[in-house]
Amino acid sequence: MNRDGLFKRVSVNAIALWLVLFVLAPSVLVLASSLLTRGDAQLVRAPLTFENYRRIVDPLYLDIFLSSFYLAALSTLICLMVGYPFAYLLARTSPRYRRNLLLMVVIPFWTSSLVRTYAMIIILKTKGLLNSLLLWAGVIHEPLTILYTDAAVFVGLVYSLLPFMVLPIYASVEKLDSRLMEAARDLGASRAATFVRVVIPLTMPGIIAGSMLVFLPALGMFYIPDLLGGAKTLLIGNLIKNQFLSARDWPFGSAASVVLTLVMAVMLLVYYKSVRATRRQEPA
């Protein structure tokens, strides 16, 4: 064994330890507390119960789950509609401009998402930048009410999550062999037919990855609906946050967390399956 071997062992163990301490242990704690009862003095107490899970099936909470999924799904769809053409053009521009454009996609990550969400308020509020601009340009005559509506929530979610859609799609478009598109045209396919029959199927791994990377965080980003939506719509993210911080019902918040985690896990599983399926189609 040389020093490389040693380094490998140490780093693998360090990562394993990190995962156990900060991923596995908290998850186990959450799972455990979801099976306990709410306490006043202590946060959780005996006895063990499935009561928390039974409460989730309540139509009220089911509604929250459904509307969260709706919001996340619609945000994902918007991100896809906006992100795909952008990623496609990005991957097809000359390499000279590509690096700078890619940099511009990534720059927002340098600032905390929370800070950027506050910045959105300044833009979207009644006397904000957007309205001032539109009024000045004469497009509208009265300020629009955007802030504290669902529209603002979508704008915020799409803005925050768009890069996660763009980057995987960009990667898959860049890998796309342009000769395949020429071959399709050569065989009689119009531009549109080429896009539907060749480009979309071959960039599907990117589309699926991007959709996952947008959809899953969109379910949990509680501060965007809070700040931009005015905390009017209760989403899973907010529900869980409130259970822990306001209602101080840790077992129920934990149960909601566990359900959310399971749903995400199932979706990730489906994702990996589909990526494996498309991988098999790629040339060896």
């Binding site: 020429e182 050569d186 065989l187 009689g188 119009s190 098999r280 189609q281």
Partner: protein
């Protein structure tokens, strides 16, 4: 019913293509006859692929015009052109089965499902791939992928099939087999083939017509034999096969029939032969003109001292054997002339003299069949 069809299927009128400051094609003029197997032959980077891409419609000419079947191709997108392409690296759709790859064209034509399937199967049968119809391209060997690419293109019944170095990725034996298959396929379908290669042997053996290209220009167009036997310039002469180039000076000319030249310190008469191809190469050379006399290695005859009468020695070029390479069917000799020039000569074995063994340093005498040489103006 006989339709009045022109014999010209493709016509290029002064077609140029530049990429920035690079001229990939320079004022190319070309006419291709219907139903011919035409080869574009030239070194890598000479513009062969560029020319095919202009025909297919993936790129547009910087200037000039392209006609296919009498119709201008300007502003006609690839999907509307009566041509199909077999790509250099096949470009099969990796997400489709072999069958779906081949059925891609017929599907887009909006044929009924039955007809679409019939056509795809027929094309697969033609290339013997019906058994593999359900496979994906990455589960096929290179040769099989090649066949799929061909089937996928010809199923659309194009007027012209464009093939960009389709056999490059195949090993020698498969390549030879595919050459024959392609040739047969072309005869059977009667489609015009534009076949790109940088392999002169492939070009000569497969085509009705060879288009020799260099640096974005067409150097010569002709039947394989014409290209080989009467190349128009040194580039073509050298590109289509090994050739010996001797420098000579014209002493006298009788106005076309006979040239007297000084060659390797010898006076020699070169006769214009009745061979039609050869005649094209002759120019009106005058006394004092410098010329190249070109002789193919297989046209050089090599004699031992004992094979010739001593008094005839002045009719031959004396030379020394430098290298003798046994090649199976031939012995290839490298000989050096008194002037220091080196020539190569291929001697074929035949049944009467199995004594083709030459040794290094041996003194030999050379000549060639009168009229088999090529005379070209001197190129500096």
């Amino acid at each position: 019913m006989l339709l009045p069809m022109s014999d010209t299927i493709i016509e290029l009128r002064s077609v140029s293509k530049s990429f920035g400051s690079l001229m990939a094609l320079k004022n190319v003029e070309l006419r291709v006859e219907r139903g011919k197997f035409v080869t574009l032959l030239g070194p890598s980077g000479c513009g062969k692929t560029t020319l095919l891409r202009l025909l297919a419609g993936f790129d547009t000419p910087t200037s000039g015009e392209i006609f296919i079947n009498g119709r201008s191709m300007a502003s006609l997108p690839p999907e509307k052109r009566p041509v199909n392409t077999v790509f250099q690296s096949y470009a099969l759709f990796p997400h489709m089965t072999v069958f779906d790859n081949v059925a891609f064209g017929p599907k887009l034509k909006g044929l009924g499902r039955k007809e679409m399937e019939r056509q795809a199967l027929e094309a697969l049968e033609m290339v013997n791939l019906v058994d593999l119809a359900g496979r994906r391209p990455n589960q096929l060997s290179g040769g099989q992928q090649q066949r799929v690419a061909i089937a996928r293109a010809v199923v659309n019944k194009p007027l012209v099939l464009l093939l960009d170095e389709p056999l490059n990725a195949l090993d020698y034996k498969l390549r030879k087999a595919m050459q024959i298959e392609l040739k047969q396929l072309q005869r059977k379908l009667g489609i015009t083939f534009i076949f790109v290669t940088h392999d002169q042997e492939e070009a000569l053996s497969m085509s009705n017509q060879v288009v020799v290209m260099n640096h974005g220009c067409i150097e010569q167009v002709g039947e394989p034999r014409e290209i080989y036997e009467s190349p128009r310039n040194l580039f073509v002469a050298r590109f289509v096969g090994e050739i010996n180039v001797l420098d000579a000076e014209v002493l006298s000319s009788n106005g076309g029939g006979v040239l007297e030249v000084a060659l390797e310190g010898r006076k020699m008469k070169l006769h214009k032969t009745s061979n039609g191809h050869k005649a094209n190469g002759w120019k009106a050379f005058g006394p004092g003109d410098r010329v190249h006399v070109l002789v193919r290695p297989e046209d050089l005859r090599v004699y031992r001292r004992e094979d010739i009468e001593p008094e005839d020695a002045s009719d031959f070029f004396p030379a020394t054997v430098e290298e003798a390479i046994y090649k199976g069917a031939t012995v290839d000799l490298i000989v050096s002339l008194a002037s220091g020039g080196r020539l190569s000569a291929s001697q074929f074995f035949n049944e009467d003299d199995d004594q083709l063994e030459f040794y290094r340093g041996e003194q030999v005498f050379l000549d060639w069949v009168q009229g088999w040489e090529v005379v070209l103006p001197h190129e500096s």
